[in-house]
């Protein structure tokens, strides 16, 4: 398949770029000559791209295939009033194939209702919790079909953060300790959990802010802090894949930036998949972008190719709204 060898397109011609949208003083990655624009078919990048904000992220050093989505279709069956008569519901995701790589951030973009959330939730079998959802195709994690992995084990390896910041109504500390505690064993001492909890907070970049009030209710934190707590919670179990469903949609630009930096920092440790409506955000932090439309994966490629020289007309129409 063509996405297995992503086109070398990554950076645009610096001359064509608008001045950085990011605040001055923000460390910008150095541009190297080999990252100069290379466009497919020798055609010029879309003109709408001219005013695009500068990418903050440098290409990652390595990429490791962790998950494969192979020809996955997901449909929701409506349970009709007539008992037993299940009408075949509409397909929310139609034969999508994608790799999920560690070391690179994968962004899923597309208009509302195109199946991004549905696809994301299928990666840790959360779709199974929805009545009437059925999945066809195969998803593998390190070559193992995820349907053969016990769901709670799988969800410890593939964790998810939601659109709404949703810390549990307990203390900051307990929010993370809860995730770490095994149900079978007796509650481990607080002392024993302190290391991992602080470590998770540190990785989510929240430790400095909450170190003094680990015992405060998590719901008293600000929205951005709550969302980072949710990320810390998802990181606490040392997952291999981190799924983020519009993690910044409820946040202000400042918190958004903190979380974006965090995601980029994390990409070497975990494979990150992020769903976002914010095309600039996708452009800023993603390495690979999948554009979905009406359940189909219309285009997949590196961020440069999808935003710079989309092959499909639908992609071009969609991303042209990004920087216009």
């Amino acid at each position: 398949m063509e996405f297995m060898s992503p086109p070398p397109v990554r950076w645009l011609d610096p001359d064509r770029e608008a001045p950085p949208a990011a605040a001055p003083g923000q460390h910008e990655p150095e541009r190297t000559p080999e990252q100069a624009p290379v466009t497919q078919n020798g055609s010029a990048p879309a003109t709408s791209f001219v005013s695009a904000p500068r990418r903050r992220v440098q290409a990652s050093h390595f990429a490791l295939d962790r998950m494969q989505i192979e020809d996955v279709s997901i449909s929701y069956t409506e349970n009709t009033a007539v008992r037993g008569a299940n009408v075949k519901g509409k397909a929310a995701v139609r034969s999508v194939s994608l790799p999920v790589r560690q070391g690179e951030v994968l962004a899923l973009i597309g208009p509302s209702g195109c199946g991004k959330t549905t696809l994301l939730r299928s990666l840790n079998r959360l779709t199974e919790m929805t009545r009437g959802a059925s999945l066809e195709g195969r998803i593998t994690l390190d070559g193992v079909d995820i349907t053969t992995i016990e769901p709670t084990l799988l969800r410890r390896r593939v964790t998810m953060v939601f659109q709404q910041p949703n810390p549990f109504p307990m203390s900051v500390f307990d929010n993370i300790a809860y995730v770490l505690r095994e149900m079978g064993s007796r509650r481990p001492r607080k002392r024993a959990l302190e290391g991992p909890v602080l470590d998770a907070l540190e990785r989510a970049g929240l430790l400095e802010e909450v170190r003094a009030d680990l015992d405060h209710p998590a719901l008293r934190l600000s929205g951005g802090q709550q969302q980072r707590l949710c990320i810390a919670r998802a990181l606490a179990v040392q997952p291999e894949v981190l799924l983020l469903d519009e993690p910044c949609s409820a946040l202000d630009p400042q918190s958004t930036q903190v979380i974006e930096d965090l995601i980029v920092r994390l990409r070497e440790e975990v494979a990150v998949v992020i769903v976002t409506h914010n095309l600039q955000q996708a452009y800023r932090i993603a390495d690979n972008v999948g554009f979905m439309y009406l359940g189909e994966l219309v285009e997949y490629g590196t961020v440069g190719s999808v935003f710079g020289s989309p092959r499909q007309q639908r992609t071009r129409d969609y991303v042209s709204g990004a920087f216009g």
């Binding site: 840790n124 959360l126 919790m129 709670t152 084990l153 799988l154 969800r155 410890r156 390896r157 964790t159 998810m160 953060v161 939601f162 659109q163 709404q164 910041p165 949703n166 549990f168 109504p169 307990m170 809860y178 995730v179 149900m183 719901l219 929205g223 709550q226 949710c230 919670r233 998802a234 606490a236 179990v237 799924l243 409820a250």
Partner: protein, 324 residues
Amino acid sequence: MSGEAVTTQTVIARHTRPVEASSTWRRTDRLGLAICWLLGLLFCAIAASIVIFMMVQGIRYLSPSLLVTRPTAGFSQSQTGGFLDPLIGTVVVALLGVAIALPIGVTIAVWLTEYGRPFALARAAESTIEMLAGIPDIVLALFGLLIFSSPILGFLSRTSGHVVFGRSFFAAGAMLSLVALPLIVGSTREGLQAIPAHIREASLAVGKTRFATIRRVLLPTARPSVITGTMLGLGRIIGDTAIIVVLLGATLTLNQAGGTPVISLLKGTGSTLTSFIYENAPTGEANQPNKAYAAAFVLLLVVLALNLCVDVVGRRGRVVSWSS
């Protein structure tokens, strides 16, 4: 200067609470409004007069010694002692009823909201509980007598030879738990349903089991509702008369069955404040109205205190909320 302040305040008041002047209304609307006021005031007056009447009577006849002296049979008010035993009886019955109803009620509520499978059984359970709430307690009492008089349940009450007495704290507590059950189930369900779905998924998405989610996240979040339901149920148990009169034996004093201390008490018979009032009301067998008024006052205070608790818990419980 003060005049200025007043005008400012009035202006603010007018701005913050724009009240439509009812003088502009049509006559029928004004009539409706007047009737609403009238009925509302009437209702308040009735409630207030009950409380005030009971208070006046109660304070007149209630003395601390009544609370700590045991009742004895006698013909004059001075001979019949206090109502220590009924007071203890009320506490025992309330504790027993709640001890049975709370775990069962919470379990049913959790099953209905979190699992609800198989569908038909869940619907059946739901309507059973609704029906249970509608059964008159005297019917429950007769039914309970039938059940607890059966030889199989003989170990729960006093027996003489092959005859099972069928009346005991156990019997009364068990049937009273059915009175409290619908309230606990209803309130707990409401509390659980109010928790957004993404909270459940957030817990599942980091690899926690459903059970852990319910135990550590959902039930603690719904705790105010559980407490409210329990308080309401407690109020119903404490105020119930029919089941007590029929199933507790309505002996004036605690009449232990003998054997192991606590079991002996629970297998024995006794009275509660309600049955004490019933017996001592002017229409009752004992006919000691002063005692009845004093006991009724105590009962009223207990129930009012419970309602106050419900209010306080309800208000505190609303603190838990997620930004949506």
